[in-house]
C-alpha cells in the first residue's frame, strides 16, 4: 500500500467515522444520564430522511439539517416520554423507535416522492459542499505533510469539522461544567441529585434532547453530505456500531473519537478491498464487517479492561414518597 492509497483510505475513514462519532456522542450524553438508548439507529434514519426530503424540496441544505434535527428530536421526545415520564423499559422503547423510523421513512418517502422509498438526488445547494481549508492548494506540493493537509484534513463538509469539534466540547461540558457534573451524577445516583434539589426528570430530558440533536446532525450528514439523498435503511446498522463504539470507549468522549475512527477505518478498508491478503493468510471481507461487533463483545466480556456502564443506566427513577 503506497502513501497516496493510505491517505485515501484515511480520508474515507474520516468521512465514515463522522456519523459514527456524532451518534456515539449522542449516546454518550444519554447513557451518562442513565438513559440507555438503542434507538440511535432509528433517530439517525429519521433525520436522514427528513433532512434529504426538506433539502430536496426547498433546495436549502440548512433547512434540511433543521428538519433532520427536528425529526430526531421528536423521536428523542418519545423515548423520553416512555422511559422518563412513564418509566417504561428503555430498551424496548429503543427497539420500537428503530422500527418506527424504518417504517415511517419509507412510507412517507413513497407518499411524497413515489420513487420506491427514496428521495430525489440532491444537487447544488441541497448538499453540504466540501470546504477547502486555507492554503490547501498552495501546500499540496509539500512532501508528506502537503497531501496530509490538503487531501486528508481539507475538503470535508462542515459537519465533519463540527463532529470532531464536538469531542472536546463534550469533554468540557461533561467534566468542567456544573451541568455536566449533574448529568453524570444523575446517571450514577439519581437519588443523590434529587436530594440536592436538582430535577432528575429535567436533567434526563435535557440529556435525551442533546442526544436527539446530535443524532439529527448525524442523520443529516449521511443523507446530505456523505451521500446525495435518502435511500431505504441507509443507516445500515451505523447506530449500533456507534453504540458499540460507545461501549468500546467506556463512555468517555476522547476514547469515543478513537473508537469511531477505528471502526470507520474498518469500514473504509472493507469498502476498498474485498479480501485482504496478509502474506498467505486471506482475511475475508466479512471479518472486517463483523470486527467492530466482535471487538465490542470482547471488551464487554471484560477480558481487556472492563466496560462498566453508568450505574443507574436503564433504571427509571422513582421519587420516594
Amino acid at each position: 500500500m503506497d502513501f497516496l492509497t493510505l491517505i485515501q483510505v484515511l480520508d474515507s475513514t474520516i468521512r465514515l467515522a463522522t456519523p459514527l462519532l456524532l451518534a456515539c456522542l449522542a449516546g454518550l450524553y444519554s447513557e451518562r444520564a442513565g438513559i440507555f438508548d438503542i434507538g440511535l439507529e432509528g433517530k439517525m434514519l429519521a433525520a436522514a430522511f427528513f433532512s434529504a426530503a426538506v433539502a430536496a424540496v426547498t433546495g436549502s441544505v440548512w433547512l434540511g439539517l433543521l428538519a433532520g434535527i427536528a425529526a430526531s428530536l421528536v423521536l428523542a421526545g418519545l423515548h423520553g416520554l416512555a422511559s422518563i415520564t412513564f418509566r417504561g423499559n428503555q430498551l424496548i422503547s429503543g427497539v420500537a423507535i428503530n422500527f418506527l423510523a424504518a417504517g415511517m421513512t419509507v412510507l412517507i418517502a413513497q407518499d411524497w416522492f413515489s420513487q420506491g422509498g427514496r428521495t430525489p438526488s440532491l444537487m447544488g445547494g441541497a448538499r453540504f459542499e466540501p470546504i477547502t481549508l486555507p492554503f490547501a492548494e498552495a501546500l499540496s506540493g509539500v512532501p508528506i505533510l502537503g497531501p496530509i493537509y490538503s487531501e486528508l484534513l481539507s475538503g470535508h463538509s462542515i459537519l465533519v469539522y463540527l463532529a470532531f469539534a464536538a469531542v472536546p466540547l463534550t469533554w468540557w461540558v461533561l467534566f468542567r461544567t456544573r451541568f455536566g457534573l449533574r448529568l453524570r451524577a444523575v446517571g450514577e445516583n439519581p437519588a443523590a441529585v434529587d436530594t440536592a434539589g436538582v430535577s432528575v426528570v429535567g436533567l434526563r430530558y435535557a440529556a435525551v434532547a442533546i442526544c436527539g440533536v446530535l443524532c439529527g446532525i448525524a442523520g443529516a450528514y449521511l443523507a446530505t453530505a456523505l451521500q446525495a439523498g435518502f435511500v431505504k435503511d441507509m443507516t445500515a446498522g451505523r447506530g449500533f456500531i456507534a453504540l458499540a463504539a460507545l461501549i468500546f470507549a467506556k463512555w468517555r468522549p476522547w476514547h469515543a473519537m478513537y473508537a469511531c475512527l477505528l471502526f470507520g477505518f474498518l469500514q473504509a478498508v472493507a469498502l476498498r478491498y474485498q479480501n485482504i491478503d496478509l502474506g498467505g493468510i486471506v482475511i475475508p471481507v466479512q471479518v472486517m464487517d463483523a470486527l467492530p461487533y466482535i471487538l465490542t463483545v470482547v471488551i464487554l466480556a471484560g477480558f481487556v479492561g472492563k466496560a462498566i456502564p453508568p450505574r443507574a443506566g436503564g433504571e427509571p427513577y422513582v421519587k420516594e414518597r
Binding site: R87, N89, V95, F99, F240, G314, V318
Partner: protein
C-alpha cells in the same frame, strides 16, 4: 393488594394498547391519502379470504410463534433476548447442514434431525451472550445485538465461500434433495378431503410450533425448572436466597430461548425456501419481541399474537400489491405495538389502576370496611425488567 383484577391485566391492557396502535396506524394510512376501512377490508380479504391467504398467514405465524416463544422464555427470567434474528439465522445453517449432507430416506426423519440441528445451532449462538451475562456481567441486550450482526457476517461468509454451488452467482446453498421436502398443508389436508391452496407455503412445522407452545407452557408452569426461572425473573435476590443458581438459570433460559428461535428455520428454510438464502429470517426474530410483549409472555398469548402478526404480514403484502401503501406499513404497526404494549405500558396501566382503585373504594364504602389486607408485591408478571413503582 392487587389493584387490578387479573383479567384486566391479561386482557384489558393488551386490548387497549392494541386499539391505540390500531388508531394510530389508521391515522398513518389517512395521512398518506388512503382509506383505512378499505385497507382493512383488503387485508382481511387477502389474508383470511382464501386458503391461499390463510396458507401465508399461518406460514408467517409459524415463524412468529417460534421467535415469540423464544423472547417469552427469556422474559420470564427477566432477560431481554434481542438476538432471535441471529439465532434463527444460525438455526438455518443447522437445517441446511442437516438437509444437505445426510441422505435422509424420509422427510420425517429429516425433520427430527433438522429440528434438533436448528435448536442446537440457535442455542449455541445464544450460549456465548448467556455465558457472558452470567459469568462476566456483560449486558445481554448489547451482546445479543452484536451477535445478530456477527451472525449475518458468518452466514454471508458461509454462503459465499463454502455452501454456494460451483458456478452459481447467487449467495445461496444448493437446493435440498426432494426427500426432505416437508408436507405442506395442501398435501396434509387433501387426503381428508379438505381443499387447501397448493401455492401457500404453510407446512407441517406449524404443528411443531404449536407443540413448542405446549412445551413452553409445560416447562414454565409445570416443572421445577420453570418455577425457578420465574422465581429468578421475579426477584434475583429472592431466588438466590432460595438456592437457585443465577448462572444456571441464565444459561438454561437463554439456551431454551436460542433453541426456540433457531427452530424457526425448519419453517422458513426447510419448509418454504428449501435452500439456505441470505436474509432468510426477514426480521422475524425482531417481530418475536412484539409477539411476546403482546402475548404477555404466555404461550397461548404468543400463539394468538403470532397469528395476528401473520395476518398483518400477509395482509400487508396484499396491500402493497394492490395499493400504493408500501409493505413498510407493517413495520410501523409492529413498532406501535411494541411501543404501546412494551415501552408505554404504564401510560395505559396507570389510569386503569387509578380507575380500579376508585371503583374498589366505592364498593368498600358501601360495605362495612374490610380488614386491611396484608401487603405483598403485586403479582403482576414483571416480564420486561420494569421496576414496579
Amino acid at each position: 393488594m392487587d389493584v387490578m383484577p387479573k383479567w384486566a391485566d391479561v386482557v384489558l391492557i393488551p386490548l387497549i394498547s392494541l386499539i391505540l396502535a390500531a388508531i394510530l396506524s389508521a391515522l398513518v394510512i389517512i395521512g398518506i391519502g388512503e382509506d383505512p376501512v378499505a385497507a382493512v377490508k383488503l387485508m382481511v380479504q387477502g389474508a383470511l379470504g382464501s386458503t391461499y391467504g390463510w396458507g401465508y398467514t399461518l406460514y408467517y405465524a409459524t415463524n412468529f410463534m417460534f421467535t415469540g416463544l423464544a423472547v417469552s422464555v427469556a422474559f420470564h427470567a427477566r432477560l431481554f433476548n434481542i438476538g432471535g434474528e441471529g439465532q434463527a439465522m444460525l438455526g438455518g445453517l443447522g437445517v441446511a447442514i442437516a438437509c444437505l449432507y445426510v441422505p435422509w430416506p424420509h422427510w420425517s426423519l429429516a425433520l427430527i434431525a433438522a429440528t434438533l440441528a436448528a435448536a442446537l445451532f440457535g442455542a449455541a449462538w445464544a450460549a456465548i451472550p448467556a455465558w457472558l451475562q452470567a459469568r462476566r456481567g456483560s449486558h445481554i441486550v448489547i451482546t445479543t445485538i452484536m451477535f445478530n450482526f456477527i451472525a449475518a457476517a458468518v452466514l454471508n461468509y458461509v454462503l459465499v465461500n463454502l455452501m454456494r454451488p460451483q458456478g452459481s452467482q447467487d449467495p445461496a446453498s444448493a437446493r435440498f434433495p426432494d426427500a426432505v421436502h416437508l408436507p405442506t398443508l395442501h398435501e396434509m389436508l387433501a387426503p381428508v378431503g379438505i381443499e387447501f391452496s397448493k401455492a401457500a407455503p404453510a407446512n407441517i412445522s406449524l404443528l411443531v410450533a404449536i407443540g413448542a407452545c405446549i412445551f413452553v407452557w409445560l416447562l414454565i408452569w409445570r416443572t421445577r425448572l420453570g418455577y425457578e426461572i420465574r422465581a429468578y425473573g421475579h426477584s434475583e435476590t429472592g431466588a438466590l436466597y432460595a438456592g437457585i443458581s443465577a448462572v444456571r438459570i441464565t444459561m438454561v433460559a437463554m439456551l431454551v430461548s436460542g433453541g426456540l428461535a433457531g427452530m424457526m428455520a425448519i419453517n422458513n428454510v426447510m419448509g418454504e425456501a428449501e435452500r439456505l438464502v441470505m436474509n432468510a429470517t426477514e426480521g422475524a426474530g425482531f417481530i418475536g419481541i412484539a409477539v411476546a410483549l403482546m402475548g404477555r409472555s404466555h404461550p397461548f398469548g404468543v400463539f394468538l399474537a403470532a397469528i395476528l402478526f401473520g395476518f398483518l404480514y400477509q395482509g400487508g403484502a396484499e396491500l402493497a400489491l394492490w395499493t400504493t401503501i408500501p409493505r413498510e406499513l407493517i413495520v410501523v404497526i409492529q413498532a406501535l405495538v411494541i411501543l404501546f404494549t412494551g415501552a408505554l405500558d404504564n401510560m395505559v396501566r396507570m389510569p386503569l389502576e387509578r380507575l380500579f382503585l376508585a371503583m374498589g373504594r366505592r364498593q368498600g364504602a358501601a360495605q362495612p370496611a374490610p380488614l386491611p389486607a396484608p401487603t405483598h408485591p403485586p403479582s403482576v408478571e414483571r416480564k420486561d425488567g420494569r421496576e414496579e413503582p
